[in-house]
Amino acid sequence: MKILRISVLTAVATAGMALVGSAHAGTTFDAVKKKGFVQCGVSTGLPGFSATDDKGAWKGIDVDACRAVAAALFGDANKVKYTPLNAKERFTALQSGEVDMLPRNTTWTYTRDTSLGLNFAGVNYYDGQGFMVTKKLGVKSAKELSGAQVCIQAGTTTELNLADYFRANKMEYKAITYDSSDETVKAFESGRCDMLTSDQSQLYALRIKLADPSSAIVLPEIISKEPLGPVVRQGDDEWFNLVRWSLFAQLNAEEAGITMKNVDEMMKSADPNVRRILGVEGVKGEFLGVDDKWAYNIIKQVGNYGEMFERNVGQGSALKISRGQNALWNKGGIQYAPPIR
């Protein structure tokens, strides 16, 4: 009898679970709001983009993308939890709902945008793929590198670009593919491969991981377009809007000269554009489903785009990357955000 009873119960419970499963389906926006934090998919360690400092706290441009969203949604940039992902896991993790957003120096491409069920919310860093070689190899251009062994990280667009570049130039190569960037650097340093290829920004980041950073040089060639940006799941427009406009708010703030320091004074500014950005007049936060002070919170806690850039990868960091393409459109770059109005 007992067996019967137990099995009936199990069957009923399973059927019940199946029913419950269909009963609640919510958007990411509501789900995040309910649980009270943003689950942020970051890299396993890439200085300047997402890496832990010696106290175990996450720092970097990509980390700040999540912090900005948390600031906009909760008014507190610290309401973020991080999931370190390697390149291989990242899309599956986002698709499966393990993370809410993926600002993991991920390149915006046609296939990813259309066939993976993902949406790119914007571009927080314009990048391009480059090569790093050791100085003593004595090469000036990637074109001299036929027959080279190349260290590369698995599951990236760089893997494809590399193949394209060598094919187009009729050169031969051997790609040695590792799971994490740490292993790639280690292999490069040990001499397992002649060169390391990755996005240029990453090359600078990886170079400071070498025991002697001056022993390696980054070649001038840039062989691809790599617009990097935060990614969210498709079909979740509310959440998509929030992520996208959190980035745009930072760009608009830089353009309008609003910084972390002066944002409180700027609240009293007479400039209608500044007043709109900070939610003092005109547009309402409720269009995004957040507080009117959402942009104020982002700027106050995370800073504008320029500040974020300089702090993480620019002159304020060990990477010392210049703004280049990532300067604002009116300062010679291509960073351009639609207006807040």
Binding site: V20, T83, L85, S96, G97, A211
Partner: protein, 367 residues
């Protein structure tokens, strides 16, 4: 005529067959082939051992805080001692590590009596360790109640995580494994039997890496929308399912070793299936399979290193992580040797324990 026969005292054995020389002759130079082998191995040892000993002990640096202390050209154990905390506790907040120590300490206190034959309450204590202790340990690790600061699972790591994954995986897999083994033995229920066989063979046939990958990134796809678990929990689910298949096979071995008479006697007494199994068969079978369980535990303990692949940093992951620190580049050998030593100590002592158990438990079941 008193010709009493008085035997002469024994001659001492030839000097070549007793004492050190005799031992050498018997054990090292008993034949030409053996002599050659011995000489060859002595040569190999003489060539290889001194550099290793020099590197590991004589030329090694033991004290210091940074790589500047490593000057003598041998192993730099400073790397290990400087990073020892992270290797043991992961990123667990330094001011909270007493909680982990408390778990280790109390676990040791609970386990110690189990090694003494005379201790009367072995079963009760064992049950306590398996069923109640995990709750206590979980509260201490996780915090959040009784004024303990909550510590997120992402901060768990190092040796603590290794032990946690292995022991939780093993304890959770045991009941599932027993059920599966019983199902596999249920000849009167072909459907149940074949489902159990399928389950067991599936998990035994796939590599743990793919299981971990599946549980880490695909499990949320299997669940209703919006339901998701912690990364560590997902890895644990994968490990438990994987381990339960191996456990089932071990338990099956034990079930098969119980004489048929025992089953028949239980049937004759009119015991129901569960009573027959629970009171007659399993207690005897479990006694036989304890060494086998320890062996699968050792295997699992070593396999926990694979969680690196899904981004959990157990001890090997922590060492890998430390090796990427620009301040400590180039000490991979030291890091790996240390980790190997830690694993070796655990696995070797456990396997010795399981062998001793096997000898001890063997007595009652010689048929």
């Amino acid at each position: 005529m008193s010709h009493n026969f008085v035997p002469l005292p024994d001659q001492p054995p030839p000097t070549a067959s007793v004492g050190a020389i005799g031992w050498l002759r018997r054990n090292l130079f008993s034949s030409i082939g053996n002599t050659l082998l011995t000489l060859l191995s002595i040569y190999v040892l003489a060539v290889s051992l001194p550099p290793v000993i020099n590197w590991a002990f004589i030329d090694a640096d033991w004290v210091g805080v940074s790589r500047d202390a490593c000057t003598s050209g041998g192993a730099c154990w400073v790397f290990v001692s400087a990073r020892f905390e992270t290797f043991m506790y992961g990123f667990f907040p330094a001011e909270e590590t007493w909680r982990i120590n408390l778990i280790y300490g109390s676990l040791f206190l609970c386990m110690a009596p189990l090694f003494f034959d005379k201790f009367p309450y072995k079963v009760q204590l064992g049950a306590f360790v398996i069923f109640v202790f995990p709750i206590f340990g979980f509260i201490l690790m996780f915090g959040g109640v009784f004024g303990l600061t909550p510590v997120e699972t992402s901060q768990w790591g190092g040796m603590t995580l290794t032990l946690l994954l292995a022991s939780v995986g093993c304890v959770a897999a045991l009941p599932l494994g027993i059920l599966l083994a019983l199902g596999r033995q249920a000849t009167n229920m072909p459907a149940v039997k074949s489902m159990c066989v399928l389950f067991i063979e599936f998990w035994r046939g796939v590599p743990l890496i793919t299981v971990l990958f599946m549980s880490s990134v695909m499990l949320p796809l299997f669940l209703p929308e919006g339901v998701s678990f912690d990364k560590l929990l997902r890895a644990l689910i994968g490990i438990t399912l994987f381990q339960s298949a191996y456990m089932a096979e071990v338990v099956r071995g034990g079930l098969q070793a119980i004489p048929k008479g025992q089953y028949e006697a239980a049937d004759a007494l009119g015991l129901s299936y569960w009573k027959k199994m629970g009171l007659i068969v399993l207690p005897q079978a479990m006694k036989i399979v304890i060494p086998g369980i320890v062996n699968t535990f050792i295997a699992l303990f070593k396999d926990t290193t694979l969680v690196i692949i899904v981004g959990l940093l157990e001890i090997l992951g922590m060492v890998q992580n430390a090796l990427n620190d620009p301040n400590w580049l180039g000490y991979s050998t030291e890091g790996y040797v240390f980790t190997a030593f830690m694993f070796w100590i655990f696995c070797f002592s456990m396997s010795r324990y399981s062998q001793a158990l096997e000898r001890k438990l063997h007595t009652g079941h010689k048929r």
